[in-house]
Symmetry: C2
């Protein structure tokens, strides 16, 4: 039996929903003593990759084929977060696949099986040379199809269109660097969420509980780029952020900024 057949057998034995175990490490907790929002976000990304990697279409496997997953939309909704030392699980599955996009959902549960959050995301498959989208049916002969789970509930609203009425207020200039970079040298998707949360006054952070975060990713920034963060607070407890990148290319007509992502933070008074 050759290695390829082994791998196929291994993949076929896998359940379609993957479950991954994590612990809220004390130095990954925030000032409420619970796993920080950024660390929850990164564990969702890690679970995504553990799931796809074990099934033959992970980050590092695709790298060798000049393919990459690019996160396009993300929504996370939480009723609670694990406290320091608390173990928890992330279940994740591919909920649909259409042309160049796949939807991946998440369920977060405590050790006793209590659900404390859900997530939903949309990923695009791209060619890393051309940066153009690739049809999912071209991915390992369409093998993504067999992993789709369409009947598993994920009862949260999908990411909405993060609307801006005006230009918003410029609240921060962030020079990105080493710690912003993911394995591809791009700014990590969750880092944008951390950067926008970090522009919020600590009095607001301390008096409110963030229960939902939405992100729409438009273009990629590279570690080293300078980002501008614009804010618009239309409704109490619902803040829109727009992240743009300073353009340095002198041939770019709109040279001052270029939109990277939009993030909406939903919070309620404690």
């Amino acid at each position: 039996m050759n290695k390829q057949t082994d791998q196929n057998r291994l993949e076929l034995d896998m359940p379609r929903v993957g479950q991954y175990d994590f612990t809220a490490a004390p130095f990954q907790c925030d000032l409420t003593g619970r796993l920080s929002l950024g660390n929850i976000g990164n564990q969702l990304l890690n679970a995504s990759d553990y799931h796809s990697n074990a099934r033959g279409f992970g980050l590092t496997t695709l790298m060798n084929e000049n393919r990459a997953w690019v996160l396009s939309r993300l929504a996370i909704e939480l009723t609670n977060r694990p406290v320091a030392y608390e173990p928890f699980h992330i279940d994740t599955w591919a909920a649909s696949a259409m042309r160049t996009f796949t939807k991946r959902n998440y369920r977060l549960t405590s050790a006793d099986g209590h659900v404390f959050g859900y997530g939903t995301s949309v990923w695009a498959l791209i060619d890393t040379d051309t940066r153009h989208p690739v049809l999912l049916t071209d991915l390992k002969n369409g093998s993504l199809e067999k992993w789709i789970v369409s009947d598993e509930p994920c009862p949260i609203a999908p990411p909405s269109r993060v609307a801006f009425d005006g230009d918003g207020e410029l609240v921060a200039n962030v020079k990105t660097g080493y710690s912003d970079a993911d394995i591809n040298g791009h700014v990590n998707s969750i880092k944008y969420i951390e950067h926008v949360l970090d522009t919020m006054p600590m009095t607001q952070i301390l008096s409110h509980e963030v229960y939902r975060i939405e992100a729409a990713y438009i273009a990629e920034a590279h570690a080293g780029d300078t980002l501008q963060i614009f804010k618009e607070e239309k409704t109490e407890g619902q803040i829109s952020f727009k992240v743009t990148k300073e353009m340095t290319d002198r041939y770019d007509f709109d040279r001052y900024s270029n939109e990277i992502c939009r993030i909406m933070v939903f919070m309620k008074k404690k």
Copy 2:
């Protein structure tokens, strides 16, 4: 048998050196595909707390007694770092205890037992009401003493005095926020290291390998504070950073800045 006796029995069964298992999660890796420097630092802090917590003097236990560990010095030296998905171990032990300070050392090993790094740190025990140092002999009737391991090797130089000849060059103003906070609301010790690494040009990051980091922590900053980062590069491959905090107290004579920590980064050309 009451709960207290159970706990004592549990503690006495513990080895003096604790070993903790980690994995280089793909979204905690840097653009070289290996666990990022910041994430290695935080796993050292997590290992410290897992070790002390299991032995009765962890962060959360001490909180109830108005005591806290404050990191004073840290040096990390690495010959390699784990790649994405790679499991690794951190061994840690208390190497000495004198008056109000204890030294904690670390050994980082890959799954096959190969050592790829060491760390050494100095921690002070403080009273969280007065912020004054507390004698270690007052900690649970001096029980720290029985955990000391003085014969375990840690063959790296202790943290040196991070010297500045002048004032250095101001390279960044960093407004800290939510993601900077640790469980106590202070800026996480490793976050300072991430912030200074993030001031370095990406060309320098990409062409060099950081093999040693030293930090001397002088005062605490709170999430929400604005930090200034000053840099002095005396020797090729050895950069000193000074982090200060903007003072807002109008009774403070030296109101413009207050030193928080000094960090030295050692790097070599790839």
